[in-house]
Symmetry: C2
């Protein structure tokens, strides 16, 4: 890693922590320069404006997510086992203490209407990809006979997002210690309802 | 309503629209004064600082919510009917076009860790009250024999928040036209699983 790359990475890592607590809109080049003891122009050598910085953070979060969630899931056998691994890793991702206030994608989606078009496009492409990964694992579980053949995979994906968002809300906003346990119980009920 | 009250109300209504799109942290006395053609000092005669303004917005949102959701629900017969009415009104609330980017409580909860202590306390008191209203209607449905006596009401409340947040995410962030239909289907499945 060159020095240039190392600085870029330090900016993005710090930004990701901020976005996890306050969203993409609250990112400010001035604040970042101060936090990281960089000059404003030094920071702008890496990110010419806020838009470029927001894009960089979404890319960084997506790369980490693929590494920590998607790839870990792909190493599990296709079907229900993979679905379970993906869901478990997804929850673990959102509880990562490095993400100071939860999942950056939850915060970014909540403000998506006020984001620049290209940032929103990148965010939505990521979310579409993640939905497809979940959907594929449900289809695999149907083929393997682990879920009923008439299971509506899009509906299950919709409800999995609900469980994830509910966990996020109760864990981060309400500090509910039972959040994970309740989420797991709801997940088992969702799978049970989708069996033959 | 005095002129003072009318101005105060205009400030809060405009603020509520902004909070519904960008959260409480993004509120700024300077921006508001500009939007509403008020002097900064004129605005500060109503709200001495950002903290007071945020408190005012949370109170205003809670008052509207009680009127549009809770009271409408209370006019339905206790039990499953009331639960259905409360849930339907809750969804309608989040789709209100006056709330430009969805439910202000969803945005406020996502940023709750970075809110002032008193604002967070007011927000949490409101959410606790709403959870209790839902929980009571579930308990009533158990007493009426509409739901199984061993139904874990807190778990159902947890999952109802999940459906609400999922609907909010798919409707507002992903512009999914099926959001309401899918939410309704998941709601029916949740009730069905809670019957005897």
């Amino acid at each position: 890693m060159t020095t240039m790359d190392a600085v870029r990475d330090r900016i993005l890592s710090h930004s990701l922590g901020l976005v996890s607590a306050r969203g993409l809109s609250a990112l400010s080049i001035g604040d970042l320069a101060r936090d990281l003891h960089l000059s404003r122009s030094g920071l702008m050598a890496h990110f010419s404006d806020k838009d470029a910085l927001q894009l960089g953070v979404v890319e960084k979060a997506a790369t980490l997510f693929v590494y920590e969630v998607v790839e870990a899931g792909s190493s599990a056998p296709a079907g229900e086992k993979r679905l379970r691994t993906l869901f478990a890793r997804w929850l673990t991702w959102s509880r990562n203490p490095r993400l100071k206030g939860g999942c950056p994608f939850v915060h970014a989606s909540a403000e998506s209407d006020s984001l620049p078009v290209d940032v929103r496009a990148k965010l939505n492409a990521f979310l579409d990809g993640w939905s497809e990964t979940l959907q594929n694992s449900i289809e695999d579980a149907k083929i393997a006979g682990e879920l009923a053949p008439d299971t509506d995979a899009s509906q299950v994906v919709f409800e999995l997002y609900g469980l994830y968002l509910s966990h996020h809300f109760w864990h981060w906003s309400m500090k509910d210690r039972l959040a994970q346990e309740r989420t797991q119980r709801a997940f088992e009920r969702l799978l049970a309802a989708s069996r033959g």
